[in-house]
Amino acid sequence: MKSTKVSNLVLDILKFTILILGAIITMMPFVWMILSSLKTSSEITAIPPTFFPKDPQWSNYQEAWSRAPFLRYFVNTVIVAVGSTFGVLITTVLSAFAFSRLNFPGKKLIFSLLMATLMIPGEMLVITNYITVYNMKLEIGETRIMGIDSYGALIIPWIASVFYIYLLTQFFMQVPDAIYLAAKVDKCSDWKFMWKIMLPMNKQAVVTIGILNFISSWNAFMWPLLVTNDPNMRVLSNGLTQFQSEAGSDYQLIMAASCILVMPIIIIYLFLRKYIIEGVTRSGLKG
């Protein structure tokens, strides 16, 4: 009895040590980034390096903010991430519902074709998408809807994801037929069934898809770089690299800009933590 208690304690200590170590290792670069963003330019390159800034330079943020139009980048990024996530959710929910519940000719074929596109590497799509976008210049008055340097180019190629469709179809298929039939008898149309029953029953999965898409859109780098030349159309990730070359050796400013970039994602995560964790564990997905 006593010995098991002792060994349990040892086990607990070991467990927590490993967990704490893991947490420190994951947190370290992040903490380092925040601390560095508060150092002076001489302190950041000092050897040996200091851990805590001697005199926190909050003005670094001000300076980084003023050196490049981060607000503009930020707004662009939000527009793109929200737009594409909204699009993805709509296309994903509608097609998953169709594939899981509706019967129409060619359903299996269309689904297989979609699945087959998962085999095509994303890099190949980038080129064809680029050519399409390049040739599709579309302007209404002064605003460019499609073509290089447009929101359309940044958003529209990303408003449908075969992988998410596949994933959500699997979730929808797990909803028993009896529920659908019961709803039929209860005078619930297909449309209403989708919004009132299918969607709420799979809320976790839908929210997870939304969050994952939002994050990947937020972090997207290559595509926005390709289809934008105008600095005003840059998103945060490109803006940051651009800034990096401009700021040269002012690492503290780069760090401050990086902090600004990740902040919204962290805030979103804190708010939706419950959904993300449940959704990811339940869907067997890893972020």
Binding site: I179, K184, V185, D186, K192
Partner: protein, 347 residues
């Protein structure tokens, strides 16, 4: 509202899940649709509900033909085997759902849902989610949801099969009570003959898509129309033995079961219910192979000319394995089946 089913057939390719069914259910009656797994009970029920399209045949509710009417317009309440409650909604929202879809105002719907919940005695559970209820409670919610829109026909697909034995008995009485209280014409699907016999006004026994017999429970038990019905009803199961009729005497091996019957000479299958054996002095002596206690009764396995037959006798007697007992078979309880398994007569 009475239900009339005329020549109803559902075919899947060459396979007939329901084959030329004819049935009339009187207003306010509870009819048990009984049969083994895969015999077409659910298919029948779903055709009545309008969820499965009939291949041929017609269905009438009252005077109105509903064969082509959409499920939501048939005025039916349907309860599924696994209840099919909406898991993300509270009990109250579940019950209100059919009303809201029928554009009933929210407060009126809530009021009706409450009354229905009270009828099935779950009015204190309205704010819970289905996952926070026991099987029996979920069952009641499903019934409340089916009844709340005041349907004229209630269809229940094996509503008790997910419950444990004791709860099953309680809940079936409860269903009977609710059905009587509402006075709704009800069709109740089950594969449990005891369940069907205990609460139904009438029973339809199905096999391979065909209705074998449609009758009140007692008369079906006493006068089955064929071997399948005889075997399907009753526990312990009826004994089916090979007998020979010669000059008006029914014999099983060298055991004389009956004399003076008016049946053509030949060999037959005979059915004898276990409870038809009765003690009689100086009758045939059977040796007892085994004795088992089942509730108030003793279940004996007897040796009848080398065949094992089940007999039930009350447990007051002290009978043990290896004893011999003197039994005869009660008047008109030997059921003879012809070569087509139809009943020839009872002797």
């Amino acid at each position: 509202m009475d239900i009339r089913i005329e020549n109803l057939t559902k075919a899947y390719g060459d396979f007939k899940a329901v084959d030329n069914m004819n049935l009339t259910v009187g207003d306010g009656q509870l009819v048990g649709l009984l049969g083994p797994s895969g015999c077409g009970k659910s298919t029948t029920l779903f055709m009545l509900a309008g969820l499965t399209e009939a291949t041929t045949g017609r269905i009438f509710f009252g005077d109105k033909e509903v064969t082509k009417v959409a499920p939501e317009d048939r005025g039916i309440g349907l309860v599924f085997q696994n209840y099919a409650l909406y898991p993300h909604m509270t009990v109250e929202d579940n019950i209100m759902f059919p009303l809201i879809n029928r554009k009933v105002r929210k407060d009126a719907a809530r009021q009706q849902a409450y009354e229905m919940a009270k009828l099935v005695q779950i009015e204190n559970l309205l704010k819970r989610k289905p996952s926070e209820l026991s099987g029996g409670q979920q069952q009641r919610v499903a019934i409340a949801r089916a009844l709340v829109k005041k349907p004229e026909v209630l269809l229940l697909d094996e509503p008790l099969s997910n419950l444990d034995a004791k709860l099953r008995v309680e809940t079936r009485e409860e269903i009977r009570r609710i059905q009587q209280e509402v006075g709704i014409t009800t069709i109740f699907v089950t594969h449990d003959q005891e369940e069907a016999m205990s609460i139904s006004d009438q029973i339809a026994v199905m096999k391979s898509g065909v209705v074998q017999q449609f009758d009140v429970p007692q008369s079906m038990y006493l006068n089955p129309c064929n071997r399948f019905v005889a075997t399907f009803l009753g526990t312990p199961e009826i004994n089916i033995i090979d007998v020979e009729v010669l000059g008006g005497t029914i014999k099983c091996g060298d055991v004389v079961l009956r004399t003076g019957v008016d049946v053509k000479n030949g060999t037959y299958k005979a059915g004898i219910r276990p409870e038809s054996f009765t003690h009689r002095e100086n009758d045939h002596k059977y040796s007892v192979n085994s004795v088992r206690m089942i509730g108030r009764d003793l279940l004996l396995h007897l040796d009848m000319a080398g065949r094992d037959v089940r007999a039930i006798t009350h447990s007051g007697q002290s009978i043990t394995t290896g004893d011999t007992v003197e039994f005869s078979v009660r008047e008109s309880s030997i059921i003879l089946f012809g070569s087509d398994d139809k009943v020839i007569g009872k002797f």
